[in-house]
Symmetry: C2
Subunit: 198 residues, 2 copies
């Protein structure tokens, strides 16, 4: 009987191995051989899943985006307005080890996207979705009388988007001033100002 292999499961194992190797050696230092070894694969066994390192990276990046997206959707269930907006943003902030690891993957991804149109498109689509969801929660907040400002929702969402993206950098590269506590305080400061200027 042939061995039954769960290919989707193996792909996810490879992505997780990829993260660990990138976190350890950087994206340039991550070789297919290292990733195979980390995932417990024989060297040639990666090829059927991912013919090139670039294919593997593209898959790893979309996995981070969809994982974050799933967490964000779960966190907002049963909420609306500013409460939903806060829960949504909290899932993007790099507040724990998993999310700091994600930030360590997203930074090299941005760098790749600068010269790779397919990766740039993947990023732009994910960012538009986040932004649209933030605008939607701002509209709910406005309808519920929760907003203390007449600033257009698009600019408030833009401010929040740029803030949460900036935290991906500072949580990794300026961690003292951007500990989990401080990032939450910064988010709450922003949402507090949007709510009632206090």
């Amino acid at each position: 009987m042939p061995k039954v292999v769960d290919h989707d499961q193996r792909r996810v194992e490879l992505v997780e191995a990829t993260w660990r190797i990138i976190a350890r050696h950087g994206i340039e230092g991550a070789t297919m051989r290292d990733i195979a070894a980390e995932a417990g694969f024989a060297n040639g066994a990666l090829k059927p899943y991912f013919p090139s390192k670039d294919d593997l990276l593209a898959f790893a990046f979309s996995h981070v985006f969809s994982q974050t997206g799933r967490r964000m959707t779960d966190a907002t269930v049963g909420r609306s307005g500013l409460s939903a907006l806060r829960a949504y943003c909290l899932e993007i902030l790099p507040l724990d080890d998993i999310r700091v690891s994600e930030a360590r993957i997203v930074i090299p991804f941005w760098q790749k996207a600068l010269t790779d149109p397919a990766k740039a498109e993947l990023h732009a689509a994910a960012m538009l979705k986040w932004r649209d969801t933030m605008c939607e929660h701002l509209r709910e907040a406005g309808a519920a009388g929760e907003l203390g400002t007449a600033t257009p929702h698009e600019d408030l969402a833009g401010l929040l988007m740029n803030f949460v993206l900036g935290t991906q950098i500072t949580a990794v590269l300026s961690p003292i001033e951007n500990s989990a506590d401080r990032l939450v305080a910064q988010l709450d400061a922003c949402l507090g100002l949007i709510a009632d200027g206090s």
Copy 2:
């Protein structure tokens, strides 16, 4: 008579050539040979200035930071409080071609800093200086009665820092939603909320 060479000037020419090559080919695709050709140098002529690509990149990055720093200091001359804070932040926002190019250099720099302690230290020092200056202008604003919020200055400065760093990504990778007009509107929304919650 030996040819007189202005070595500092040549270093800056090399840095500018480096920027153009990185913007065109990405940091991985930028070779010392391309950079030499772009700057009008013979291939071996770079070595006395920068023994390795890494030395050249480190110098190029500190040049971006000091150039931005100089612009920020110039922009705040004769200002204090929220007016100085706005002028300072405006110089970081990627509002024109030069500053969008700088963002294209800073993104690969972050990626390098993830696994290179010397680059991480250079970044952390520059970020602390920006942050301290923002805190100073917030203190001036507080003393002048310009602040409409009791949020600690450190958290407001952290919010602004993360916002301006996030714009380095979005101005390059989500340029439609983060055009110069929109970025200024987002900054003004944030400063308006800090001033009086309007």
